[in-house]
Symmetry: C2
Subunit: 341 residues, 2 copies
DNA sequence: ATAAAAACTTTACGCGCGTTAAATTTTTAC
DNA sequence: GTAAAAATTTAACGCGCGTAAAGTTTTTAT
């Protein structure tokens, strides 16, 4: 089998002129069926593919799409990334996945490197509070970007995420309806803006229902939420700071730590008769089904968030990288009843 | 601020000739300190960066490195990917992360796409049993590749992973020493070759210790190990197939499911007096600390596996992409005692 | 069958940068 | 201070492909 060096050579071997072959690779449907057949036949025999560097050198718009998440070791983001990747591939794009691993510096470096990739667009779930807003703003100015999961005011051409109010309102109402109104368990300085929205929603819903809100703030920084939740829970349990027999955690990863702490302390969690505590949470983390007891939680509408994110990005790209108006799309949560509350 | 279009323009603005600027970007130390200073000064003022597509078009070897894992939603791989990425960046390379998401088709497509990226090298953790061996072989022939985590006989220039015998031997010996010898709990058709090595190691160690091995094989396909483990455990517990009060799971994700099933059935797991079952496992999954009870397991030497993998890849690259002899490096496990056994 | 439309071929230039050779300048060494 | 060495400049070509213009062939429509 001859080793093909470039399109010139391949064109010769396939008996088609190079410009037509070039056209074919840009869009196979743009050439006559017979020509297409001849090219594809040659393609089978010779295994040639255009040099992507030469291809992208001229085009100002590549077929690359950047996907940036704040913390890939969180299976939530891994799952959503998977969906986003697949959608991009299905649409004929090339996704490149990056994780900021919880660090601002890395997030900036990723955006920096992404620019030279000249992507057609970027799907960005920012770190949140610790994001370098001005760096992101600069980036968004030069690359069509859709934010998802975590909103930063005014940044990006659009935002797609989950409706935090819907999450908390459902969990609070459920717990109240079936028992005591819950306390709210969260980190004092949460990394993610969703956390703040959830606290506010909790307070609002509680007041609306005529109950006094009770927010428990625990210490801890970084992205090791499970351990932070566990330590916080141990402290809270030890100091008997729980005013109610039901707790709503800001997110599932904290709840996983909370449940571990309860188990260690021999506290039975759940809605059965012999249980002394009920714990619910938000997110429907992939592992929430396997906690002990399994975690009652409000589930993200993964599919819709992911699908709408890519849809929006494609619209943005087709629209030349600009929308007239920045839109924010929020999907409601779905309550998932399990054993913990 | 003027918008710089190309190196020509930037060179003019910095007062240095283009070939010298080009040289600088290839290696900043290859130019005189005074020239370097002038370039870097201009760099501050004008924010120019070479067009990577034009740069890579000529070079047969880019600074790209591909990292391919079988299943990124498994935090184990997310963690190791993080380490690999950082090492690559530190060494001046550009890592690109891909996940096969458990699918052979995707793995092949990734390798396909990777080839056109012309990476300097690739770190590949293959799917294992369901990998397309011939596709990987073809890929390795044209791209310097180091396999890690999951070995495929003879493929890639080297393999770095964990010593499965060390894992199982430590867990079996520990359980035997402190109680009954364990049964071995695994999937009937495991996706990963490590699983087979672990079973063999289990049998060997048990026989060496003078005990009769007892392997429990459960049904289930795919990468949803937790659910497979849970279902399998429920079945095993229901049918009372457990011959001993101690169980060694092939891997932590199965164990997570196993523990969830035990909890559901009200079976107390651990080494305390009131416990009827002990469960240990292998991997030290990031969540193993938060299971209920926390999971006794044999930990991968993450750091060494990751560090040696990149080291080996860099050696391979410097060596022109070929080693005289394929090497296999295995790191032993470290027993992590927690509450479950 | 014939004209118009569509697709293709030929030719040629440009993209941004790597790289080389020869000429020139700067630095180093004694 | 001078010669040799090292670095830089100038000029020019090539990489693989996109793309445009002009001419030719094939297809479509009547």
């Amino acid at each position: 089998m001859t080793k093909i060096k470039n399109m010139e050579e391949f064109a010769a071997l396939s008996g088609i002129s190079r410009p037509t072959v070039s056209k074919y690779f840009h869009d196979p449907d743009s050439v006559r069926p017979t020509t297409r057949a001849r090219i594809e036949e040659a393609l089978e025999r010779f295994d040639y593919r255009p040099n992507i560097y030469a291809v992208n050198q001229n085009r100002k718009l590549t077929k690359n799409i950047g996907i940036v998440v704040p913390f890939l070791a969180d299976p939530f983001f891994a799952e959503i990334a998977r969906y986003l990747e697949q959608s991009c591939i299905a649409a004929g794009y090339r996704p490149f996945l990056f994780s900021a691993h919880g660090e601002q510096k890395l997030e900036n470096e990723i955006l920096d490197g992404l620019q030279s990739l000249k992507p057609a667009g970027v799907l960005l779930a920012p770190l949140g509070r610790i994001s370098d807003k001005s760096a992101i703003e600069k980036f968004c100015a030069s690359v069509p970007t859709v934010l998802f999961d975590s909103n930063l005011d005014g940044l990006g051409a659009a935002f797609i995420g989950s409706d935090n109010f819907s999450f908390v309102s459902q969990t609070v109402q459920y717990m109240t309806r079936t028992g005591e109104p819950p306390s709210f368990f969260e980190m004092r300085t949460p990394a993610n803006p969703n956390a703040n929205k959830r606290r506010k929603a909790y307070v609002e819903v509680m007041e609306r229902l005529g109950f006094e809100p009770h927010v428990i703030k625990i210490e801890g920084a970084g992205w090791a939420f499970e351990e932070i939740g566990r330590q916080g829970a141990l402290k809270v349990l030890d100091e008997r700071k729980l005013r109610t027999d039901s707790v709503l955690c800001s997110n599932d990863r904290l709840a996983i730590g909370f449940l571990a702490a309860c188990f260690e302390q021999g506290i039975r969690v759940g809605r059965k008769a012999d249980c002394t505590l009920r714990v619910a949470s938000n997110d429907d983390h992939p592992f929430a089904k396997f906690t002990c007891p399994s975690l009652t939680t409000a589930a993200h509408d993964y599919d819709n968030v992911a699908a709408r994110s890519v849809e929006t990005l494609f619209e943005l790209i087709e629209n030349g990288g600009k929308f007239e108006k920045r839109t924010e799309t929020l999907f409601p949560a779905r309550l998932v009843l399990r054993e913990s509350a």
